[in-house]
């Protein structure tokens, strides 16, 4: 039951009316549809991202953000200009050519500093606050999650996101892939 986990994984489909009468679909004009193959990204100067739509316009200080970082991490990537206005959206990373994709990937890694938990070393629960020591793909980390009921989000049946008191994010992509001890430790508090 995905509905109970707080984040819905599937999108709703809209029922079409049964009568013969058809309604004009609602069209969205902004941002305009951009051919993803026309997207060129550069680092210029090296710490800023510049985007040009081939033969058209150019933007500097471009930001790359995920529209749905939890449910669709590899799809619906929005490119924002310096004022945080959307330039265009990349529906799927796979649509991009090799070079652009790796740049976009790099930018995403620079923006989403979520850590993946690979092992749980200890968990203690005191008065509704849990103290964790874990190994993540970035190295060992201690953190505190307050009110586990609210700050541990199940994204689907196996994926777990923990948000600590400072707003740092820790993810377990598949709880079942962790070793037995880690799972047992986690079960004590979740």
């Amino acid at each position: 039951m995905t509905e109970t986990r707080g984040v819905k994984m599937s999108s709703n489909t809209i029922d079409t009316p049964e009568s013969g009468f058809t309604v004009a679909p609602i069209t969205v004009t902004h941002p305009e549809k951009v051919d993803v193959r026309a997207i060129r990204l550069f680092r210029d100067p090296p710490w800023l991202l510049r985007l040009t739509l081939e033969g058209d316009r150019s933007y500097t200080r471009v930001k790359v953000v995920r529209a749905a970082p939890l449910s669709h991490p590899d799809h619906f990537i929005a490119l924002l200009d310096a004022r945080d206005e959307e330039i265009c959206m990349i529906d799927a990373l796979d649509d991009l050519d090799e070079e652009t994709r790796s740049l976009v990937g790099e930018e995403l890694d620079r923006r989403y500093l979520t850590s993946r938990i690979v092992r749980v070393l200890s968990v203690r629960n005191e008065f509704g606050t849990s103290y964790w020591t874990v190994d993540t793909h970035r190295g060992r980390r201690e953190f505190v999650v307050q009110n586990v009921g609210e700050n541990a989000l199940w994204l689907g049946d196996h994926r777990l996101l923990l948000i600590d008191v400072d707003g740092n994010r820790f993810e377990v992509p598949r709880v079942d892939d962790l070793d037995k001890r880690s799972v047992a430790l986690m079960e004590q508090v979740l």
Partner: protein, 766 residues
């Protein structure tokens, strides 16, 4: 710039000078000279966006240095004079310090969210240096770790649950009993007497059996029936005494306990009211409310039903053990044998039980919040015909709750069975070993029976202590949270030395005011503005530009971070808060009404006003007509938050409230935004009447509302972009001009679709 730095190199606060390990020291020494004063030297907790590692940021008077990873990583050096700006960029789960400079090296530093507040301050400080100002850093950051044990705190500047000062908390709780100390003392004495008296009956029974009914040595039998009557009389007397003691004790207990708890609640509520808004910002409303309800319930139960029994139960255990040893030391030791296993077993199962209870309460709160949501959102649910789905969601929550209830109940059963099993062992021991002693005539039957009674009586307080401890921990945590609020510094209402101004003229002066809700995340930058008494200022800008924030500062809901704000030439911090606020009339976007009559709501700020005044204010606000159309007129109860009224009606009441209050400084924060154009036109007149002679700050999206403003202040991203009269600004063809033009285009567009739209100023915002 260099001068200011050289003059004050040592005044920099040490929290931004951290001491690096030797490796870093060496690397630093290699690239800096001795004569360069170090201004900032801090560690970040990531190396690039990659791994957790310590990287260092060092700012000297000459240069900015970033050392990635302590021992090996790269070194970036940027001369300070080439730096143009430093930004603390907020990322997801962390942040990045971007150093923009005229060189070509890549100067960035990543950190996790834990350090984000620190680096926000640092970015602001480096920007000061870059602009050539002298460096000012905050003297302290919010504590994230416990000062005593180093544990990460569950809440910034919060209480460390591990270091709860148990005795200190107990002492403070007892402090609330102090006013009733004599009754409390009597209570303790009575409870103890009660426990001691309850030790008597088994002893009497022993004598009845041994001396009267089944004497081991018949020759010692003396009185027969007379003795029996005497002993039964004693038994009766003891029971009567116990009964009287229990009645008095309970009566006293509730008397003292409830009063103490009432006092605690009173103190908590009054400090909640006086808390600065900043405090409420950081905490969820729910968590504050739960202190008022859950936490004080915990304390109440503890004070009423736990604390009074500590002493008596200790006495009881001691008394029983002494009696058992006295009656028969060997048997007593045998009987006490199962006690340690009971304690061990229960503590083992205890953890498991707690786990289930915690789970149960999480699921329960999930269920109840869903219930709450589906009742308050009932209109939306029905409008989208989603009753079935909500029903299914509820079922899922309900089943989850049931699952965990079953497991909890099962564990509880195991816990119960195990303890009972061990307890029954005590009884077996008594019967077997005691029975053998009886057969060997080393023990009398009555003594054996008394032994059994005492054993049963012993396990009860023992088990009680098990529960008591775990509950005490929870109650103390609750008490700590309550005391935390009681102890929180309240707003400086009557700070000594503040001037008790009677009436203010209403001159408001901002002098390079900067402000941020969170330290470092600046919302208002360098605002300079001088408002004459009686002047009407229109504040214009996109949503999020900082208009309401500016107003929050005038009301002193928050204090400025830098610069100064003065009223009639007196710094706002030197004004008495009460006088200040009593002269400010605020009509805000969300006009909050209390669940009371319309009259009382209008009268809220001026409780002494007569009904005539209320009528006049309501008329002036054009609220009168709609009020008299209501069945109960001015006596109508408006419902929670005023939900029985329409948005426009609520706003008119709020305006009436401000009119009646008769303030010197009037603030209209989108006060007319939920009124339709005809109604607004009616109110315009009321507002013009109200505005006359008062300093007014009006925020509005409609041009018409601001027509009468003397000056318009255009805010863009927390900065004042333009100031001037309506005509001036249009002539200047700047920011305001663009806003107005876009809006005209929009209105024209709407008109062509034959939708008459009011002229709004936000149309040109992104």
């Amino acid at each position: 710039m260099q001068n200011t730095l050289k003059a004050t190199p040592h005044q920099v606060d040490t929290i931004f000078i951290e001491s690096p390990p030797p490796v870093v020291r060496t690397r630093l020494d290699a690239i800096t000279s001795e004569h360069e004063p170090v201004l900032i030297q801090v560690a970040a907790d990531m190396d690039g966006p990659g791994r957790y590692a310590r990287s260092w940021l060092v700012v000297t008077a000459e240069q900015l240095i970033i050392l990635e990873t302590e021992a090996t990583g790269s070194t970036v050096q940027v001369p300070l004079r080439t730096v143009t700006a430093v930004r603390a960029e907020a990322l997801v789960g962390g942040g990045r310090l971007d150093v923009e400079h005229r060189g070509s090296t890549w100067a960035q530093l990543y950190y996790s969210n834990t350090l984000a507040p620190k680096f926000a301050e640092i970015a602001a400080a480096i920007n000061q240096l870059v602009r050539g100002e002298s460096l000012s850093l905050p003297t302290r950051l919010e504590a994230t770790r416990c000062a005593r044990c180093g544990r990460i705190l569950p809440e910034k500047d919060g209480v460390c649950p591990a270091c709860i000062r148990r005795w200190e908390t107990l002492r403070r709780l007892l402090g609330y009993i102090a006013p009733y100390r004599w009754r409390a003392l009597v209570l303790v004495l009575l409870t103890s007497a009660g426990s001691l008296v309850s030790l008597v009956p088994p002893y009497v029974v022993k004598h009845i059996v041994d001396d009267v009914l089944a004497p081991v040595r018949p020759e010692t039998q003396t009185g027969g029936v007379r003795l029996l009557a005497l002993l039964v009389g004693v038994l009766l007397g003891v029971n009567l005494t116990m009964w009287v003691i229990e009645v008095v004790r309970r009566w006293l207990n509730t008397w003292v306990g409830f009063r103490a708890v009432e006092d605690i609640r009173k103190a908590l509520f009054s400090s909640l009211q006086f808390l600065p808004l900043r405090y409420a910002d950081k905490r969820k409303v729910g968590s504050l409310i739960s202190r008022m309800t859950n936490d004080s319930d915990l304390v109440e139960i503890y004070m009423l039903f736990d604390l009074p029994f500590v002493f008596s139960n200790i006495l009881m255990i001691a008394g029983i053990v002494v009696l058992l040893l006295h009656m028969n030391a060997r048997l007593a030791l045998l009987v006490l044998l199962p006690v340690p296993p009971i304690i061990i077993a229960s503590s083992l199962i205890w953890n498991r039980l707690q786990l289930y209870w915690r789970r149960w309460s999480t699921r329960w709160s999930r269920l109840s919040s869903h219930l709450n949501e589906s009742i308050s959102g009932i209109r939306v649910i029905k409008a989208f015909a989603q009753e079935q789905r909500e029903g299914r969601r509820f079922e899922v929550h309900n089943r989850d709750l049931q699952d965990v209830s079953v497991s909890a109940e099962r564990s509880w059963l195991v816990f119960f069975m195990v303890t009972n099993f061990f307890v029954s062992f005590g009884t077996f021991f008594v019967w077997y070993f005691g029975g053998r002693q009886l057969l060997r005539q080393e023990l009398e039957l009555g003594a054996l029976m008394a032994f059994n009674f005492y054993l049963m009586m012993l396990y009860r307080p023992l088990k009680w202590f098990g529960d008591f401890y775990s509950f005490m921990v929870r109650a103390f945590a609750g008490a700590e949270r309550i005391f935390e609020i009681i102890d929180a510094p309240s707003e400086p209402y009557d700070r000594t030395g503040t001037e008790p101004v009677a009436v203010i003229d209403g001159r408001v002066t901002f002098q390079s005011v900067s402000f941020g809700y969170d330290p470092g995340k600046i919302v208002l930058h360098d605002v300079d503005l001088d408002v004459r008494p009686g002047e009407m200022i229109g504040l214009v800008g996109c949503s999020g530009a900082g208009k309401s924030t500016l107003i929050n500062l005038i009301c002193r809901f928050y204090d400025v971070s830098r610069g100064s704000l003065s009223i009639d030439g007196v710094d706002i911090r030197d004004l008495r808060l009460e006088t200040l606020r009593s002269q400010i009339g605020l009509v805000s976007q969300q006009s909050f009404l209390f669940n009371d009559t319309i009259t009382e709501n209008i009268r809220y700020g001026s409780p002494d006003a007569g009904f005539q005044d209320v009528l006049r204010a309501a008329r002036a606000a054009n609220a009168h007509e709609f009020i008299v159309r209501k069945a109960d007129g001015y006596d109508m109860i408006v419902g929670e938050g005023g939900n029985k009224l329409s948005g426009g009606e609520k706003q008119r009441l709020a305006i009436a409230r401000a009119i009646l209050h008769d303030p010197r400084i009037l603030i209209l924060d989108e006060a007319t935004s939920s009124l339709d154009t005809p109604t607004e036109r009616k109110i315009q007149e009321a507002i013009r009447r109200l505005v006359a002679g008062r300093t007014t700050f009006a925020i509005a999206h409609r041009l018409s509302t601001l027509r009468s403003a003397d000056r318009l202040v255009v805010l863009d991203n927390g900065r004042i972009a333009e100031i001037g009269s309506h005509a001036d600004l249009l002539a200047r063809q700047g920011f305001f001009y663009n806003l107005v033009r876009t809006q005209q285009v929009n209105t024209a567009m709407m008109a062509s679709h034959s939708v008459a739209g009011p002229q709004t100023l936000t149309a040109g915002c992104w």
